[in-house]
């Protein structure tokens, strides 16, 4: 420390000075930028509009966009500190190639040559499908669109999926099953219009705080929250349903049962717009309130009140997130949610929507364009007309398009383990932290001949084991669009240059295509993301996710526009903001007969029930301060201070039985592995017999405990329930 500081002459007056910014007013002088760059937040799928403040080529501040229809100037704590994710030592700066066991710096030319030739080698030896690709929900739509073409047409493998399967695959499968297509029908505006908001397995106060802001604007609504844990959201509820873990499907069936018996269903709507009612009615007979009360642990009275509130509402909203999706019954639970909306015939009304609140900033973009679980534009692999349509638009032979989906993420991992996949390209995701029963994934990756990890950060637990690391630009360093949960397409802009040699994922894909010799065929005349966007507008035209009326200019001007948005919609605008869009208001669904399907789905107990050796049910989830595997938020010091370490929540009754004290260090053991040295929080937030831990922390990773159990339909993992025991820590203090 300097002497002038030690004596007290220097108090860093300049650093702590204030000034006046024309946009945000009086603020710390160092936070005042030269320019504000408009963009969209790169964390979650709420899709908040914001500006990044840039000074001397560095991002120094952010502010919410007051005019953005989603967030109206508000941001969550992660968004408020998002500029700190850019300029950190943990960023990946150079391509790194493993030589003699060590990752060494190489040039882009050499890195991509190596990647393309190694992929070719593996594919020549083991077949084209021996290459797998695991993507993300974090790229811009233009990149997803480009990547899909590159993987399926350029590299010729359909073993392509994303970490979105760990997140909202159940919602996708459920929507497809019920409505004939993916695509959340509602809008955030519904939160402000609904007279009942029913959140099931959705802790929006921690995970989507800005949706709480939207809900706050609606003082008329009754809020019902179903969650086994008294989450921050549960405490906001007018009616809280502390249901037993994974009894959600029984509860939803029980509500449907009461709706039918109380005559709170719309028979005309059901007859006109749905199929499957007779089977459902018979099926639901056994979901009597008595039985549902026994399964859920809720009183019959509470179940009746919920059903009547929902059934009598003019515009009931049901929102869900990972409490529903992270389940081996996830897709069917989504069907049961959609059943409620269909039985009451409310879907499409302002306020009423079965609404999947998505995870990542652009999970929706990959669903629309991504070429993973479907063809771009919600086209189906097994539909010849869809394939021909796409082939015509792309000027390729329909035979080049795969006729079925390749392996889903968990099955890619399984194939690596079995040796069927020999080379893997992982893009913008960190499976060593996020994949369930992660030791299996580790073994699978060790089995590979060649692992490429493309990421904005290095080292991450996954880049550390890569054979080739490709450094990528992240949010704030590249251009494109994100689609949020309400189908709103918003513009993402470049504020600063990526660090070192890092390139945008878009440029990496184009350069990779060049090396593979497919660039002109896949990306004719493309130079930037806008070229991809223009092609995607044509490809999406006439589809449910119709972008044809959108343009970068309109998105900038209107701060995001919901799809479908046709050229006619654009022509009708006439200077006015686009109206809120809701799907299926006309009762016309995407299934062949235009009718939605009511599904008779069965509740089942989760597979790994607690027993004498593992008496607790472990629930996992998030905290507001951190994002996913903490690659980004670990670098934001204030967030790291606010939530520095993983913890375990346990009910005081259990703690007494185990003679544990608050702040004791504990060890959690599942049949698979254990996590040591967790700080114990003794709390009434969790029920006796249940424990909770957050999943962000690689140092104490909940995913060494979780199971390899996947939804048979969506392939989404069952993160939310597994059996564990809790002991005093053997490591630690």
């Amino acid at each position: 420390m300097k002497l002038s500081r030690l004596l007290g002459f220097d108090i860093l007056g300049e650093k702590y000075a204030y000034g006046h910014d024309p946009e945000i007013g009086y603020t710390a002088a160092e936070k005042i930028p030269d320019k504000w760059v408009p963009t969209t937040c790169g964390y979650c799928s709420v899709g908040c509009g914001m500006y990044v403040g840039v000074k001397d080529g560095r991002a120094v501040s952010v502010r919410g966009n007051d005019d953005h229809p989603v967030n109206r100037g508000k941001l969550c704590p992660k968004g408020l500190a998002e500029h700190h994710t850019l300029d950190t030592d943990a960023r990946a700066r150079d391509p790194l190639l493993r030589r003699g066991g060590r990752l060494e710096r190489v040039g882009w030319g050499e890195a991509l040559d190596e990647m393309v030739s190694r992929f070719r080698g593996v594919q020549q030896k083991y077949g084209p499908r021996a290459l797998g690709v695991v993507g993300t929900g974090q790229l811009v739509t233009e990149e997803f669109y480009a990547l899909g073409k590159l993987v399926q047409l350029g590299f010729g493998t359909n073993n392509y999926d994303g970490n979105t399967t760990l997140c909202m695959a159940s919602a996708v499968s459920g929507y497809k099953g019920s409505f004939g297509s993916d695509g959340p029908p509602g809008a955030y505006d519904d939160l402000e219009q609904a007279d009942v908001v029913f959140l099931i397995g959705a802790n929006i106060a921690d995970n989507h705080p800005i949706l709480c802001y939207r809900l706050e604007q609606n003082p008329r609504t009754k809020l019902i929250v179903a969650d086994p844990r008294v989450s921050k959201t549960a405490r906001l509820a007018d009616l809280y349903l502390p249901l037993k873990p994974r009894s959600d499907l029984a509860l939803l069936n029980g509500i449907a049962h009461i709706l039918i018996h109380a005559g709170l269903i719309d028979r005309d709507y059901i007859d006109a717009h749905t199929t499957g009612f007779a089977e459902l009615e018979t099926h639901l007979e056994k979901y009597t309130p008595e039985r549902v009360a026994a399964v859920t642990g809720l009183s019959e009275e509470l179940i009746y009140r919920t059903a009547l509130l929902y059934g009598r509402a003019k515009a009931p909203f049901i929102g869900w997130t990972m409490g529903v999706n992270h389940s081996t019954k996830g897709a069917e639970t989504v069907n049961a949610i959609c059943n409620l909306a269909l039985l009451t015939g409310t879907i499409g009304r302002p306020g009423a929507s079965p609404f999947s609140i998505t995870g990542q900033c652009n999970a929706m973009g990959t669903r629309e364009t991504g070429f993973t679980s479907g063809l771009p534009g919600y086209r189906k692999f097994d539909d010849a007309a869809d394939r021909e349509d796409l082939a015509r638009l792309w000027n390729v032979s329909p035979d080049e398009l795969p006729t079925e989906r390749g392996l889903a993420y968990p099955d890619i991992v399984e194939a690596c383990l079995k040796g069927d996949i020999k080379a893997l390209w992982v893009i913008a995701t960190n499976p060593i932290v996020s994949f369930p029963n992660v030791d299996v994934l580790r073994q699978a990756f060790e089995n590979l001949d060649f692992l490429v990890v493309q990421d904005g950060y290095h080292p991450t637990p996954t880049t550390e084991i890569a054979d080739l690391v490709l450094p990528a630009a992240i949010w704030g360093e590249k251009e494109g669009t994100y689609t949020n949960s309400e189908r709103r397409v918003s513009k993402v802009n470049k504020a600063v240059d990526p660090p070192g040699e890092a390139k945008s994922d878009f440029d990496i894909f184009l350069a990779g295509a060049e090396k593979r010799g497919v660039r002109e065929r896949l990306y004719p005349g493309w130079s930037g993301p806008k070229d991809a966007f223009e092609e995607w507008r044509r490809v999406s035209k006439g589809r449910l996710c119709d972008y044809s009326g959108l343009s970068y200019e309109l998105l900038e001007q209107r701060h995001g526009v919901q799809w479908p948005f046709t050229e006619e919609d654009a022509a009708r605008l006439n200077g006015e903001p686009p109206a809120t869009s809701r799907l299926y208001a006309d009762g016309q669904f995407q299934a062949e007969n235009g009718k939605a399907k009511l599904w008779a789905v069965e509740w089942e107990p989760f597979s790994e029930q607690p027993n004498d050796s593992f008496p607790f049910i472990l629930n996992t989830g998030r905290t507001v301060e951190h994002w996913h595997t903490r690659t980004k938020t670990k670098e934001v010091k204030i967030l790291e201070r606010l939530a520095p370490t993983a913890w375990l929540e346990m009910n005081p009754r259990d703690a007494r039985r185990l003679s544990l004290q608050p702040h004791d260090r504990v060890r959690v053991v599942s049949p698979r592995s254990h996590v040591d040295d967790l700080e114990l929080r003794i709390t009434e937030i969790v029920a006796p017999g249940q424990v909770f831990m957050p999943f962000h922390y690689v140092e104490r990773n909940s995913n060494v405990l979780t199971q390899s159990a996947f939804d048979p339909l969506s392939r989404e993992p069952n993160y939310k329930q597994c059996a564990v025991r809790v002991e005093r820590a053997t490591l630690g203090r």
Partner: protein, 506 residues
């Protein structure tokens, strides 16, 4: 009296404007979160925090750090957590607090340099970093632990309600960031507030508003369980040891005790030995007092600490101990020069020295540190002087038959004082006092026993058998250890924090 309409719901609050209707789909709601009207006489701005709306997202905390360019470990606004009830009727509550801009701000009263002011126009309690010397005394004084010491600057800082933003008609950063609109700026009439603050300024997770009359109004959610408790209730950590203050306080008390004892003996004796001993005690005092600025964030500006002698016990301590040093030095000089009337100067030094010990002890009687705010602190400090002072001069060869008896009596007093203090802390209903007792009886139990043994051995047994040097060494070790325990075992009053956090120890 205000001329604004007074609502029935809030007889003392004047809201500038209600939520404005917005026909265009609420796209940009007109803000009612800051007053749009000027303050009248007798009014000030204050925070309103709506606990029923807060979702614990900590946006306010992040926005505050960005607004003020504070390092990530410094929070001028903090979000705390409380929990009550039994599953599934669990109540989770959050508390977001900046500065409470109190009617009677104890930070300001205690600040020796007058770095704090209560803005005449707005009532905002402002802190001037340029005037601050980093003594951290405001942190001890504040019952809400609001001011935070900034290591890299050497000064404290705190929430100023973004007065610079308010002046421009903008919302403070926290108000602006809150997605639940749980934080608001209101206008309060101070005289009316003084009558009714207890109902609205007190809330679970907050220290009593009585100490300083916090102006923050808190709206509580309905159905509040009576057992809502801070999430950090069980996390009690020792405070900073402040070694320079341990040394400074014990040695200045030794010096005053030694000087006074020597001066009294010199009145009875013809010998010059007491004067030599007294001068030696003075030198110890001057040295220890001289090193005390080293604990400041800005030692070069220590001289400013006398500015607030009218209100601050810290200023008074410095004034009286400086006076003691000066007059005792004068006494010594006069004595060596054999100039008469030295006893007047000696009496003056004695009086100033006793004032100094008193001021030192009174400066620890702060609202923010309940375990200090007891008579035991004053007794402890005086008895430290009474034990160590006479022993010190005895070591230098000045003694009378009475001296060991006085020392032993003082040491027994100190022993009883410590025991009584511990019992009182244990029996207190105040959380912070109980928590101090918890620290003393668990983390520091061995050191407490050692401290009591040392005072008995060094202060009672050894002097009575005339082993003065050994007695002095053990007693000095005992008092230093005792003072160390005094600093580390105090548990500050604080707002509820999160499960993880403890405010920066001060």
């Amino acid at each position: 009296m205000s001329t604004h309409p007074v609502t029935e719901e809030n007889p003392f609050v004047i809201l500038a404007s209600g939520p404005a209707p917005n026909p265009e789909g609420l796209l940009r709601r007109e803000s009612s979160l800051v007053p749009k009207i000027p303050l009248q006489d007798g009014e000030q701005y204050r925070f309103h925090f709506d606990m029923s709306k807060c979702i614990g997202c900590k946006c306010c905390e992040v926005a505050c750090a960005e607004q003020n360019n504070n390092p990530p470990d410094i929070s001028w606004r903090r979000v705390g957590e409380m929990e009550g009830g039994v599953y599934p009727n669990t109540q989770r509550l959050y508390l977001s607090m900046g500065c409470n801009h109190c009617v009677e701000p104890s930070c300001m009263t205690g600040c020796p340099t007058e770095a704090y002011s209560k803005d005449a126009a707005t009532g905002i309690v402002l802190h001037d970093a340029n005037m601050c010397i980093g003594c951290e005394y405001c942190i001890w004084n504040c019952p809400y632990n609001v001011p935070v010491f900034n290591e890299e600057r050497g000064v404290v800082g705190k929430c100023d309600m973004c007065h610079g933003r308010l002046a421009e008609g903008d919302k403070p950063a926290c108000v602006n960031a809150c997605p639940s609109e749980a934080i608001q700026i209101e206008i309060v009439n101070i005289e009316q507030w003084k009558k009714v603050y207890r109902e609205s300024a007190n809330a679970p997770g907050l220290p009593s508003a009585d100490d300083t009359i916090s102006t923050t109004r808190v709206t509580l959610p309905g159905g509040l369980p009576l057992d809502a408790r801070k999430a950090d209730y069980h996390r009690v950590k020792p405070e900073k040891p402040h070694f320079s203050l341990v040394a400074m306080t014990v040695l200045t008390q030794l010096a005053v005790g030694g000087f006074v004892a020597a001066w009294l003996l010199s009145l009875l004796s013809e010998s010059r030995t007491p004067d030599v001993a007294g001068t030696a005690a003075l030198i110890v005092g001057l040295l220890s007092f001289g090193i005390s600025p080293l604990h400041l964030g800005r030692p070069a500006f220590a001289f400013r600490a006398v500015r607030n002698w009218k209100r601050s016990w810290l200023s008074r301590e410095i004034v009286s101990l400086t006076g003691f040093g000066a007059s005792a030095t004068a006494y010594a000089v006069l004595l060596w020069l054999e100039i008469p009337a030295v006893n007047v100067v000696g009496a003056m030094a004695t009086a100033l020295g006793l004032c100094g010990i008193t001021a030192t002890s009174f400066l620890y009687l702060v609202p923010g540190r309940p375990a200090w705010r007891t008579p035991y602190t004053v007794v402890e400090f005086v008895l430290t002087g009474a034990v160590l002072g006479p022993l010190f001069i005895a070591v230098l060869g000045v003694t009378t038959p009475l001296l060991p008896v006085i020392v032993a009596a003082a040491a027994i007093g100190q022993l009883l004082n410590q025991v009584w203090k511990f019992v009182a802390l244990t029996r207190s209903e105040e959380f912070e006092k109980q928590a101090s007792a918890r620290l003393l009886s668990r983390e520091f139990a061995l050191l407490v026993l050692l401290r009591l043994l040392l005072v008995v051995a060094g202060g009672v047994v050894l002097p009575l058998v005339d082993w003065m040097i050994a007695g002095f060494v053990l007693a000095l070790a005992g008092e230093l250890l005792g003072r160390y325990l005094f600093f580390v075992s105090v548990v500050p009053k604080n707002m509820a924090l999160t499960f993880f956090e403890q405010a920066e120890a001060a």
